[in-house]
Amino acid sequence: MFAITKLNKEYWKNFSLSEKDIEFIYNLLLEKEIPLSTEVLLKSLIKIHIDQEKDNSLKQFHGKNKIYLPRDEYNIGDKIVFPSLDMKIGKVLEIREGFNPDYVNPKVIKVKFDSGESKSFASNIQDHPLNHTLDIPEDDSNYDPNFIYDHYKQYLFDRLETYLTNNEVLVNIAGSWFPRSLLIDVHVGHLNLAEAILEEANGGPIETIPLMEQVELSANADTKLLEFSFDLALQEDKRFDEVGPAGETLWFLNSMEPDSVKKVPMYLKYSGNYIDNNSLTEYLELFEGNIYDELETWDSHGYENNRVIISLSYPHWRSGTLPLSNTLEKMFPTAYEAPRVKFKFIDERENNQFPGWVVRQHKYVYGLKDWYQENKLIPGSLVIVEKGKNPGEILIHFEKSRQNKEWIKTVLIGSDQAVVFAMLKQPISANFNERMSIVVTNPDALDELWDKKLYLKEPIEKTILRIMRELSKLNPQGQVHAQELYAAVNVVRRCPPSMVVHHLLNSPTVEYLGDLYFRFIEKDK
């Protein structure tokens, strides 16, 4: 076997695209005449690099001489290196047809070596062990394009993607690339028809090919290329949004998308700082139940759940959304590019299906406003989310509460628009997280505070302490649990839990009592 050692980790780590690579990508796209994904392009690029390095190494080792392989054919005068004869070099003197029933059209070459000795060798025979002299060793994964792709894509994928993205000659849609100049022109009339068809379908979504068929788009070209061209024309027209999960291209009419999908609901907007929560992890871990907050990063990217129980916060309850935290992101459909992905919520117990939207960029899932209301859920209710049987389906339900009424913190708005909390008996339909539960009897009144950004005008630590003071009135010891405070602060403005804990731990007026309980330091102390 022939060994090439250059293709190691360092080679791929330091890999950068050369002019030759770029030419290769263009040629590949021109040759295939269909759009190719970054993954396919990268795998092809890796393969060509392996082949090139093999060729280069052979040339360096043997100069211009050919390596003798029984499968090859030779010409008179060719100089050949014989690996099986200690790399002896010989010159082809004669060529004749061979006869051997074991082989199809074998040839015999007579070779004269430098020593003067002549020998005859087989040529044009496919089945001989020597044909594999230069093959890549089977157990050497460095020559396996799939292995290279799997192990070094962290170095390679982004570099290629960045190059392709910055390249004006290429266009991308749904993860595939193609030269713009080779695309088929799509007339605006077809796009107008597409708009009308989507409008008829309540905005969509409709897959590209059925949409193409309905607008009667045809051309004397490959269907994939036509589909890609149509996709691009739709993508570049603001009237249309691609809303399909990864691997599917679905089109929706932008004007018919829910407002809360196109625009982040005000309850979810956070403009404050982020705290490095490494130092707060020990406190955040004491939160009861799993806290999924899209503003936090502590729940692992790698941990994949099929079932997650979410304790609703007021902003999500009011917006009809769920937080797309790291864990939840893995459960919901995602996309290569589409900023919004449409999917289906299924409430199996009620035999109810309704649309949901993953708003990837702003990390929330929309579509539950009516469902929350119909089921009389409150902030703090436990919502159970599970992966559906089919991709693009999410099961959603809740456990019904055994009690009809419970004592729960209730938000009351004073005539001066001050927020106060009182423990009141409230009707309950679903199980809830006691620390997170809050009943807002008059959300419209609370909306006014949000609309006027009353609390947003002050520093967040001031809001935290203001709400803490209100909560501390609910018990004689004046103790406030950080998780309850997190839930309560979010009734008036968006705030991640780490920010609440950070300010509690660093406030000179607050002391930590342990177990996430805090209270104001008494003045006479």
Binding site: S84, F99, V108, S120
Partner: protein, 145 residues
């Protein structure tokens, strides 16, 4: 099928003495030896050789170096193809016939009676007595260094 009676050595073979088919012996003692060998070819190759020159040469290819040697076509085909077929050595053949086919099947690699014993399922001594005497059967002779 005439049997030879020419003495070739005074050294007495043992169960460890290697034997093989001595094709030179065939050439010297039987002018029809190729016709005899022809009968061992499989159907496909009998067809191939029926209309070919009797002295047809084949370009044998060395399995390691791919060097080409012109060899006797009939013998090459017989030993490299036909004798490798599953039913080439039937159980019901007489001892000499089976030993002869064993040598054809293994490319005429030398084997001693002990080795042959395992292949034809007969005692090594019986094999030695049969093929180690003065009488030469089907060209099977000891290799005496």
């Amino acid at each position: 099928m005439p049997d030879g009676n020419k003495k070739f050595s005074l050294v007495k073979p043992t169960v460890d003495t290697p034997f093989h088919i001595d094709f030179d012996w065939w050439k010297e003692t039987d002018s029809n030896w190729r016709i005899f060998l022809f009968s061992f070819l499989c159907e496909k190759h009998q067809e191939l050789f029926s209309d070919k020159n009797d002295s047809l040469k084949i370009d044998a290819v060395d399995p390691e170096t791919a060097e080409v040697y012109p060899v006797d076509g009939l013998l090459y085909t017989l030993m490299n193809h036909c004798a490798k077929m599953e039913d080439f050595i039937p159980d019901n053949l007489p001892l000499i016939g089976r030993i002869f086919r064993v040598f054809l099947a293994n490319g005429n690699e030398p084997l001693n009676p002990q080795q042959l014993s395992k292949m034809v399922n007969r005692p090594a001594r019986t094999i030695l007595v049969t093929i180690g005497g003065h009488q030469v059967y089907k060209g099977i002779r000891p290799i005496i260094a």
